[in-house]
Amino acid sequence: MNAEPINVTGEPVKSRKGEVLLSVENISLRFGGVKAISDVSFDIRRGEVRAIIGPNGAGKTSMLNCINGFYHPQEGQITYKGVRRPKVRPHQAAADGIARTFQNVALFKGMSTLDNIMTGRTLKMRRGFFWQALRHGPAMNEEIEHRKVVEDIIDFLQIQHIRKLPVGKLPYGLQKRVELGRALAMEPELLLLDEPMAGMNLEEKEDMCRFILDVNNQFGTTIALIEHDMGVVMDLSDRVVVLEYGRKIADGTPDEVKADQKVIDAYLGVAH
C-alpha cells in the first residue's frame, strides 16, 4: 500500500507478491494449562490472500490475536516487515498497518456508518484535541481529507444508502460490511478478517467475496482470513494453512490442501 490509500489506478502490486510480509515461527500460546497454539510456523506473503482454516477450537482466532498483538505467545517469534517484533500492543500493531475485523461484529452500535468508518481514521489524525474540538482551520481541512477517504470507502463497498443510519439498526450482513470499511479506513498493509462471511446468506457472501477480492486487487492489501465456508476459502485464497487442536497439519495451495489426507480426515469430515 502506498501513500495514496484508495488509489484506484495505483501501481500494480502483483509484482511484489512473494516477498514475505509476516512470518510466524514456532509459536506456542497457553492459557494456564490449556494449550491454544503449539509450535506453529507459517508466513504471509505480500499481496496474497492467505486463509487459516480448521475445526472449531483449532486456534484460528487465537492466531489472529497473536498477530495483531492482542495475545502474546509464550514461545516463538513473529517477524513483521523483516523486523522481529517484540511484544506489541494492538494499537501499535494498528499503527504499523495491521487492521482486523472480528468474529462477532464489534462496531459502535449507536453511531452512524459514516462515523464508525471515520473511527478507522483515528490513527491518521494529526491535529490535537484542541483544534478538533474547535473544528476550524487546519482541523477542518484535515477532517475534509479524511471524509474524502471515508466516502471513497463507502462508495467502494456500496453502502451509500446506510451512510447516516446507526449501525445497530442494520442487518448483520451490512454490519459486517461496515466493519470491513472501518478496517479499510486504516489503509492497512495486512488485513485480518475473522470469519467475514459467518451468518450471511448466499447473496451477501458473494458480495463480500467480491469486496475482498477487489480490496486485494486494487489496493494490493495483503489479506489473512479465517473462514468456514470451504467453497469460499478455495475460491478466494492463494494459500491455505490448516490448524487442528492448535497444531499446523497442512499448508499450501487450495488444491494441495484439498488433496491432503490429514486435512480430509481432520477437517472435511471422515468417519472416525
Binding site: 462508495d155 444508502h161 486487487n217
Partner: protein, 689 residues
C-alpha cells in the same frame, strides 16, 4: 362539458384560481404548440443543447451525487462535454445511422452518451440495466448496436459474456472504472478518456471543429432519434422508433401542459430505457432547460429526492405505494399519541384535503383543521417523501389504487394520472388540474386524437406517435391503422365528463363460463391496494369463478409478524402461516364486498385464493422488467396450484425452478394451502355501462 364545470366552479369560488386558468387555456396551449413547432427552432436534441448553452449557460443542467456530494454541470459545461464526447466517438469510428446501446442506471455520462451519439446522427438504444444476459443479447443483436456505453464492471461483464452473439459490436465504453483495470482495453474505453481525447483532437485542429459542427447541422427533426425497446409484456421486445420531432413534440406537450420551465428540478431514477424517463429526464429537461438530478445509488433515491426537493415527478404507482407502506409500517412503531394524531389528521385530510387541492368549497372549520394538520402531519410527511416543493407529480405505467391516489392528493401533493405508451412518445391522455378523478386517466393530451373502436379498444393519433417498429414491418402493420391511428391494445371508454377510463388490456378482459365480466387487472389492483399484498394474479377466463394467487409484502407483513409474535424464518414460511392466511382472507372479503356493490362486477367476486410460496420475480420471467405480472406465464408455471384452486382441494404441492441473482438456478418446493372466501349478493343495480 368543460364550460359547464368551470361555471359551477366560478359560482362557488370567487378567488383567483390559477389551476382553472390552465384548464381554460388548454385550447391556447394547442395552438402555441403548433406555432412553435413550425417556427425555425432547433429540431434535434444536440441543437437544443447548444441553444441551452447559449441562453442559460450558467444554469445547472445535471447533478450527480458522488462520494456524498452533489457534483454539478451547467448547460455550458454539458454542451462542451457532449461536443468533446461526440468528437471522441467519431474518432472511434461512430457514423451516422449507427446504433449505440446505452446500459446502466441514471448517470449524467449515460445521458450525455445519448446526446453525443445523436450529435453524429447515430441512434441511441437505451437498454434495461437489470435485464438478464439473454434478454440483453436479443436487444443488442436486434438493434445491431456497434457501440455500447455502459455504467460499470457488472454491465461490461454481462456484455462480454454474450459477445459471441454480437458480431456487430465494436467498442464498449464505461463510466465507472472500478475493477476494470486489468481488462483488455483494445475495444474497451473509459468515457472520461474518450471525452478527453475528443477535447484534444478538437484543440489540435480547427478543421475538426468545423467538421463536427457540420455533422450536427446535418441532423434534422425527421431523423430517427432513438429506439426504445418495449419491455415485452407479450413476446419479444419490439424496438419503437421515434424521430427527434416525435420526442420533442411529446416533450413540448408535457412542458406546456403543466408550465414546466428552467427552474424545475427532477430526479432521474427510472430505467433509462423506459419512454417515461426518456421524455421526463432527457427530452423535457433539454427542451425546457431544467435540471436533472441523478441519485447516488438506486437505494438512496428517497433521501436524494429530499435533498434536491424536486418540483416535478414521474413515477409508477409502485413507487408511491412503497413510500406509503414504509410510512404506515413506521407509524405502527410510533407512540400511541403520535399514532392517534396521525390517524386523526389523515381522517381530516381524507375529508377536506382533496377538495382544498381542487379549489372546491370547504367549510371554515375544515380549512382550519386542515391547516393545523398541514403544520403537524402533512408538511412533515411531504418532506419525508421529498415532495415538499412538488408542483405536479404524475403516475403512469399501471393503474393506481384509488385510495393510494387520494392519499397523496389529500396531503397536498398534486398527483395526477396520465395514460401513455412508448408508441405514443408517452402522452395519450392527461388529467388537467382541477379535473382529477381517481378512476379515470384524464382527457386526450393536446394534439392527440382518440377513437374507440367497436371492440372497445382505444386508438390514438398524434404528431408524436412512432414511425414503426425497428425491422418489424409486420408488427407495425398490425399496430397502425391505414388512417394513421395506433392500436393501444387497451380496452376503455369515455365517461360522461369526457374522461377516458381504462379497464384492462383489450385481450385480457375476459368472461367467466357463465358470461359474467372478468377484468383481471381491475381485481388485482383492488387487492394490491392493501399494503400487505404486494402482487396478485387473478384467474377466471372461461372458468366457473374467479380465483386469485397473492404475494404478501415482506416488509409490511414481516413487521406485523414481529408485533404479533409470529415467528418465521423465510418468506415461504411466513406466506404459509395460518394467521397470515386469516389476514389476507379479511382483505379478500373486503374486496368482494366492494365488487358486489359495483355494477357488472358482482359476478367477478373471488371465490378461492392462495398465497404463493415465493415472490414473483422478473428474473424468473414472472414479471416484466417494469414489474407487471405475466398472467399466462404464471398460470403455466404454477399449473398445479391453479388446478387446486378450481378442483376444490385444500392444498397442492409445487416445486418451481428459480434463478438467483448470479444466474444460477435452484428449486423451491412447497405445499401451498387453498382457502375459500365469502361471497356477497350483488347489491348494485344492473346499470347499463
Amino acid at each position: 362539458m368543460r364550460g359547464c364545470k368551470a361555471c359551477i366552479n366560478d359560482e362557488a369560488d370567487n378567488g383567483p384560481n390559477e389551476d382553472r386558468r390552465n384548464v381554460r387555456g388548454s385550447h391556447r396551449v394547442e395552438t402555441s404548440i403548433v406555432a412553435s413547432a413550425s417556427a425555425g427552432q432547433p429540431d434535434t436534441f444536440p441543437k437544443l443543447l447548444l441553444r441551452n448553452a447559449r441562453e442559460r449557460g450558467a444554469r445547472v443542467a445535471f447533478r450527480h451525487k458522488d462520494l456524498g456530494i452533489w457534483q454539478s454541470w451547467t448547460w455550458a459545461e454539458t454542451a462542451e462535454q457532449v461536443r468533446h464526447y461526440a468528437k471522441g466517438l467519431q474518432a472511434l469510428g461512430l457514423k451516422r445511422g449507427d446504433k449505440v446501446a446505452i446500459v446502466g442506471y441514471n448517470r449524467p455520462r449515460l445521458y450525455w452518451s445519448m446526446a453525443a451519439a445523436q450529435w453524429l446522427g447515430a441512434v441511441p438504444v437505451p437498454v434495461y440495466a437489470d435485464s438478464v444476459a439473454d434478454e440483453m443479447a436479443y436487444v443488442l443483436d436486434h438493434a445491431e448496436a456497434v457501440f455500447a456505453c455502459v455504467q460499470d464492471q457488472e454491465q461490461v461483464d454481462k456484455i462480454l459474456s454474450i459477445a459471441d452473439r454480437l458480431p456487430k459490436l465494436r467498442h464498449m465504453l464505461y463510466d465507472e472504472p472500478r475493477g476494470l483495470r486489468d481488462y483488455d482495453h483494445a475495444t474497451l474505453h473509459d468515457i472520461d478518456g474518450v471525452i478527453r481525447a475528443g477535447a484534444e483532437a478538437l484543440k489540435a485542429s480547427p478543421e475538426a471543429e468545423a467538421a463536427l459542427a457540420r455533422e450536427m447541422e446535418a441532423g434534422s427533426g425527421d431523423d430517427l432519434g432513438i429506439i426504445l425497446y418495449t419491455s415485452g409484456t407479450t413476446g419479444r421486445p419490439k424496438g419503437v422508433m421515434l424521430s427527434h420531432y416525435n420526442v420533442i413534440t411529446a416533450a413540448r406537450i408535457g412542458c406546456e401542459f403543466d408550465g414546466l420551465n428552467e427552474s424545475d428540478e427532477v430526479i432521474a431514477y427510472l430505467p433509462i430505457a423506459w419512454v417515461g424517463d426518456h421524455v421526463f429526464s432527457y427530452a423535457q429537461a433539454i427542451l425546457a432547460g431544467f435540471c436533472v438530478n441523478c441519485p447516488e445509488s438506486p437505494d438512496t433515491v428517497i433521501d436524494d429526492r429530499r435533498e434536491v426537493g424536486t418540483t416535478y415527478a414521474f413515477a409508477p404507482p409502485r413507487v408511491f405505494e412503497t413510500m406509503l407502506t414504509l410510512t404506515m409500517v413506521r407509524m405502527e412503531d410510533a407512540g400511541p399519541l403520535m399514532r392517534k394524531l396521525f390517524h386523526y389528521f389523515l381522517g381530516v385530510a381524507k375529508q377536506y384535503g382533496e377538495k382544498i387541492l381542487n379549489k372546491e368549497p370547504v367549510p371554515l372549520k375544515g380549512r382550519l383543521l386542515y391547516a393545523l394538520g398541514d403544520m403537524l402531519i402533512y408538511g412533515p410527511l411531504r418532506n419525508r417523501f421529498g415532495l415538499t416543493n412538488i408542483k405536479v407529480g404524475y403516475t403512469a405505467g399501471e393503474a393506481i389504487g384509488p385510495e393510494l391516489f387520494r392519499f397523496y392528493r389529500s396531503i397536498g401533493v398534486n398527483l395526477k394520472q396520465l395514460y401513455g405508451q412508448t408508441e405514443a412518445g408517452v402522452y395519450i391522455t392527461m388529467q388537467p388540474n382541477g379535473e382529477i378523478k381517481a378512476d379515470t386517466v384524464g382527457r386526450p393530451a393536446p394534439m392527440v386524437e382518440i377513437r374507440i373502436d367497436d371492440s372497445g379498444e382505444v386508438l390514438y393519433r398524434s404528431p408524436s406517435i412512432f414511425g414503426g417498429y425497428y425491422k418489424d414491418p409486420e408488427k407495425t402493420a398490425e399496430t397502425m391503422t391505414a388512417d394513421g391511428y395506433v392500436r393501444s391494445g387497451d380496452a376503455g371508454f369515455f365517461d360522461e365528463t369526457g374522461h377516458l377510463k381504462i379497464i384492462d388490456r383489450a385481450k385480457d378482459v375476459g368472461k367467466l363460463s357463465n358470461g359474467a365480466l372478468f377484468p383481471p387487472k381491475y381485481i388485482e389492483n383492488k387487492l394490491k391496494f392493501y399494503p400487505n399484498i404486494k402482487e396478485a394474479v387473478a384467474f377466471g377466463q372461461g372458468r366457473d369463478f374467479v380465483a386469485v394467487a397473492v404475494n404478501i409484502d415482506l416488509t409490511a407483513v414481516g413487521n406485523w409478524a414481529e408485533r404479533n409474535n409470529v415467528v418465521y424464518a423465510s418468506y415461504q414460511e411466513l406466506a404459509g402461516h395460518e394467521l397470515v392466511y386469516d389476514m389476507i382472507a379479511k382483505h379478500i372479503d373486503e374486496v368482494n364486498r366492494s365488487l358486489a356493490a359495483e355494477p357488472l362486477m358482482g359476478g367477478a367476486q373471488i371465490r378461492r385464493f392462495l398465497i404463493l410460496h415465493k415472490e414473483l420475480d422478473a428474473d424468473d420471467g414472472e414479471l416484466t422488467r417494469t414489474q407487471k405480472v405475466r398472467r399466462g406465464f404464471i398460470a403455466d408455471r404454477y399449473a398445479p396450484l391453479v388446478n387446486a384452486l378450481y378442483d376444490g382441494s385444500e392444498a397442492a404441492d409445487i416445486s418451481t425452478e428459480v434463478t438467483f441473482e448470479d444466474g444460477r438456478k435452484g428449486v423451491i418446493s412447497a405445499r401451498v394451502k387453498v382457502r375459500d372466501a365469502t361471497l356477497y349478493p350483488a347489491t348494485a343495480p344492473a346499470r347499463a355501462a
